[in-house]
């Protein structure tokens, strides 16, 4: 089966921007893509493993890419997180799909 990668632009917590390719056929989410490229040190992202329970993978979405609608648990977690903006999302709740080609995000500060 031909795998389809998409291009994502990620700005890390030091302000450095990275262009990365993310597989769409490995059931990966945005938090896992960031970890797979080691764009944030281990232990500072995906702390809860991706259960929308820690907000360590909070990202600001900078492009108009269509993303899955926010579920209750993500919304609740963001309501208790810090540095939250209108364009905040939890990376672990964004499954990578081909439609996300060109997604641009910035990783929120650690808290």
């Amino acid at each position: 089966m031909e795998s389809l990668d998409i291009n994502i632009t990620i700005t890390d917590r030091d302000g450095v921007t990275h262009e990365v390719e993310a597989p769409t056929d490995m059931a990966m989410n945005l938090m896992e893509v960031i970890r797979s490229y080691e764009l944030a040190p281990e232990g500072t992202i995906g702390v809860c493993g991706g259960m929308a329970m820690c907000a360590s993978c909070q990202c600001y979405v900078l492009s108009n890419t269509e993303l899955p609608e926010m579920q209750d648990d993500e919304e609740a977690m963001l309501s208790e997180a810090f540095y939250v903006k209108d364009n905040s999302r939890l990376g672990c709740q964004i499954q990578i799909v081909p439609e996300m080609e060109g997604l641009v995000v910035e990783i929120a500060p650690e808290s």
């Binding site: 040190p41 232990g43 500072t44 702390v47 259960m51 329970m53 820690c54 919304e75 309501s79 208790e80």
Partner: protein, 351 residues
């Protein structure tokens, strides 16, 4: 001074299984954990969630895994120092270690196993200027002694179970309880949410949503806070106490200063042999260690704990012979005098 064979820092699944493996080698363990209950992340972060990759368990709830591990190791009578964070390790002249907690409890053993996962769970602090200045002067991140709030005015911030539960609890103790949350919705058990609704209707809890605490003030101690309701002008509220309850997040903490090699927020260990750190006698097992190819899985922690115990045996009993025994063959002899063993095969002639 608590004396034992292996001091285990962290009472999560890896630490608990280490108690069992150590017990098979007749080594006694004492566990230290910053959380008030054993289980680590399994009990603190996701007790009611299923885990699917524990060998032999197609599906098990994190809470049940903790219960099973406690049951499995109980005949080896582990000691527990809970609700205290291991802060300091000191090597003694006799080669042993003394580990001291933030509350001054001292533990002595020839071997230390750090099974601290991602670290000790520390309260997440809201971003309010000067907040640290008022810590323990009116600002507390957890309720330790509810009586200290008797007849005082209390503001609780947060929207999860602990914010709801403590608002309910303190409503009968404090002279007033105000609950401030960024949204109208709360994430908690349904009965807690309903109880808060009821207390609000009775005027026993003052609910302010959607709002945030945006500043705090006071001379030498907390006196008032600024509350900003969404889309409205900020206003000041007099209060004796502010309790921000925004959950806990794991931090490596003081272990970072123990002279251990740290890489990627984890402790480097020798995975070719026994998961020992660069300090002989100190091991790191489970999610808190790192080595080439490391996977943060509970099942890997179990394996690492087993090898660590074999190495600990050699440190504690130098030169003493031992070979690995199978529990099915040898049974399990508890320190409490209990014995588990496989039933003997029946030898009987068939006529």
């Amino acid at each position: 001074m608590i004396e034992t064979d292996i001091i285990i820092i962290g009472a999560g699944p890896t630490g608990l299984f280490a108690v069992f493996e150590a017990g098979l080698l007749k080594l006694k363990c004492h566990l230290i954990d910053a959380l008030p209950q054993p289980g680590g992340q399994c009990s603190e972060l996701y007790p009611k969630k299923p885990i699917y990759d524990i060998p032999g368990f197609p599906e098990i709830l994190a809470d049940d895994l903790t219960k099973n591990l406690l049951e499995q190791c109980k005949q080896f009578e582990p000691g527990f120092t809970l609700g205290e964070r291991a802060d300091l390790v000191e090597k003694q002249d006799d080669g042993s270690f003394v580990v001291t907690t933030n509350k001054g409890t001292k533990h002595k053993a020839p071997v230390v196993a750090i099974a601290s996962g991602l670290g000790s769970f520390e309260p997440r602090k809201p971003l309010i200027e000067n907040l640290s200045q008022y810590e323990d002067k009116g600002v507390e991140y957890m309720v330790k002694e509810p009586e200290m709030y008797r007849d005082k005015t209390v503001v609780i911030a947060g929207g999860g179970d602990s914010a709801l539960d403590w608002s309910i609890f303190l409503a009968d103790i404090a002279s007033s309880v105000t609950l401030v949350h960024r949204r109208n919705e709360f994430r908690g058990h349904l009965d807690s949410v309903e109880k808060v609704q009821q207390l609000k209707n009775q005027g026993k809890i003052n609910l302010i949503t959607p709002a945030e605490i945006t500043a705090i003030e006071g001379e030498g101690k907390l006196e008032r806070i600024e509350i900003t309701k969404k889309g409205e002008e900020p206003y000041m509220v007099e209060t004796d106490h502010l309790i921000p309850l925004f959950g806990l997040s794991p931090k490596l903490g003081p272990i970072a200063n123990w002279g251990l090699e740290i890489e990627k927020n984890a402790i480097k260990v020798n995975n070719a042999l026994d998961y020992q750190t660069n300090v002989p006698g100190i091991f790191a097992i489970g999610d808190g260690n790192t080595y080439p190819g490391k996977l943060k899985l509970i099942l890997c922690g179990f394996h690492e704990a087993t090898l660590m115990c074999q190495a600990a045996y050699k440190i504690i009993n130098p030169g003493k012979r031992y070979v690995l025994k199978y529990t099915t063959v040898a049974g399990v002899d508890g320190f409490d005098g209990s014995r588990k063993e496989a039933p003997k095969a029946v030898v009987k002639a068939i006529q």
